[in-house]
């Protein structure tokens, strides 16, 4: 069975339908599956619920799917970098569910690991806990959060082999490995696709069992949101 597809459109063929839930990896614009997002935009699929820590920026990342109004609802922890997002939300065109970042990550991890719910102290006594079950363990209060699953996860890796084993690079790892575990189908784009055996098995971050389809993403310029540098002292 060959998991490698010739391009992003082919890698998503037959997987997209209106109203589905999609997890999309990345933190800010770092480690986002840009090629797969573009292919989802081109497909015209709509009414999407998208689980992603952020919502891209105007003109990049998930910002592309906001421009075309393909997203109905976002589940995120921080959406501050996107003006269109604010406009759509304030006009009622877009639904938004905020999750604390760690709760979001753990909901996804739990979903992928077959755990339907867990208790956390994050958000106890805040708006986030409203309407949720709370319970005391060892004298401390915890709130129950549900595991999260999606129909499709799209992730960005640095390297993939033909079996779907993935390696991420630096902080571009972020949400990608947990999302890869928590969907019915996971499609990975990778900057490099290598032959089986070319990745040291000890260095694999995501085992191939979690990845159904792989596509090599064409070289593109990765965007930097906040370019911060220091001066060389002469």
């Amino acid at each position: 069975m060959d998991k490698v597809y010739p391009d992003a459109h082919a890698a998503l063929a037959g997987l997209l339908r209106d109203g589905m839930t999609i997890m999309s990896g990345g933190f800010g614009l770092c480690g986002i599956p840009e090629a797969l997002i573009s292919a989802i935009r081109d497909s015209g699929v709509g009414g999407l619920t998208v689980v992603s820590n952020n919502a891209g920026i105007d003109g990049a990342g998930l910002g592309l799917l906001l421009e075309t109004r393909q997203i109905r609802k976002m589940i995120s922890s921080y959406v501050g970098e996107n003006k269109l997002f604010a406009d759509l939300y304030l006009s009622g065109e877009l639904e938004l569910e905020f999750n604390p970042q760690g709760t979001l990550a753990e909901r996804i991890r739990a979903g992928g690991a077959g755990i339907p719910a867990f208790f956390t102290k994050t958000g106890v006594g805040t708006l986030i806990a409203e309407g949720k079950e709370t319970r005391e363990f060892d004298g401390e209060r915890y709130v129950m959060e549900r595991g999260l699953l999606a129909d499709l996860a799209i992730v960005h890796a640095w390297k993939a082999d033909r079996e779907g084993n993935l390696v991420y690079r630096k902080t571009a790892r972020n949400f990608n490995p947990v999302m890869a575990t928590a969907a019915k189908v996971t499609v990975a784009e990778a900057e490099n696709v290598v032959g089986s055996g070319a990745i040291d098995p000890d260095h694999i971050h995501t085992p191939g069992i979690f990845v159904k389809r792989i596509v090599r993403c064409q070289p593109y310029e990765k965007r930097i949101e906040q370019r911060t540098v220091r001066k060389r002292s002469n």
Partner: protein, 213 residues
């Protein structure tokens, strides 16, 4: 004279201990990394998935795959490790991070913290703040004492909370307060700031460390 932002960051850096793992929030807390006392080592945690955060890169050496939680380009150190978001917040929620230094809109005398939302305005989200204040062993708030002349140290927060009873220490441009079971205690005053002035600019009830009186 009130403390400058650098003075506040320097004071916060005095809370660091050798071997600490520390998470610094965006804004004034980021400046703390410029004042790490000599002779101690601390590892900075960035909640997007990195321990051992290095300084900003030299121009031309920026790497789009290497950013901090403020989405700024940074560098790695010989001690650096990377991990995914679930493990990152596992170490935060699990109490493995020693110290979190962050900004605030309001702090109450019982340690409640509000720093993520103003109702009626576009809300950007809490990011990792709720997880940090709930999980990190010690939480230090670094903020201006007032906002547009209004006190930020209150009896009760009026804004939606980030965490309940989570703040251990507050450093403002006017002084330093501890918060514990016995309530809020003023332990330091900025140079030439009088007790009268700080009382006037603080709504929260507080006691004073004896040496200050």
């Amino acid at each position: 004279m009130a403390w400058s932002r650098d003075d506040m960051a320097r004071r916060a850096a005095a809370e660091l201990e050798d071997g600490f793992y520390v998470n610094l929030g965006i804004g004034i807390p980021t400046l703390v990394s410029n004042f790490i006392p000599s002779g101690i080592t601390v590892q900075l945690q960035s909640e997007n998935g990195m321990l051992g955060m290095g300084p900003f890169p030299f121009e031309g050496e920026e790497d789009a795959d290497l950013i901090n939680a403020g989405k700024q380009t940074i560098t790695e150190l010989p001690t650096t490790s990377y991990f995914d978001s679930a493990q990152s917040f596992g170490m935060i929620r699990g109490g493995h991070v020693d110290l979190s230094i962050l900004g605030a809109m309001q702090v109450a005398e019982n340690g409640d913290l509000a720093n993520w939302m103003i109702p009626g305005r576009m809300v950007k989200g809490m990011g990792g703040a709720m997880d940090l204040v709930a999980g990190v062993k010690r939480v230090v708030v670094l903020m201006e004492h007032t906002a547009r002349g209004e006190p930020k140290l209150l009896h009760r927060c009026t804004l939606p909370l980030t965490g309940q009873g989570v703040v251990d220490l507050v450093i403002t441009d006017l002084g330093v307060f501890t918060i514990g079971r016995e309530g809020m205690t003023l332990i330091e005053l900025a140079p030439a700031i009088t007790l009268e002035e700080i009382r006037q600019k603080t709504e929260a009830s507080f006691t004073m460390r004896a040496a200050l009186g």
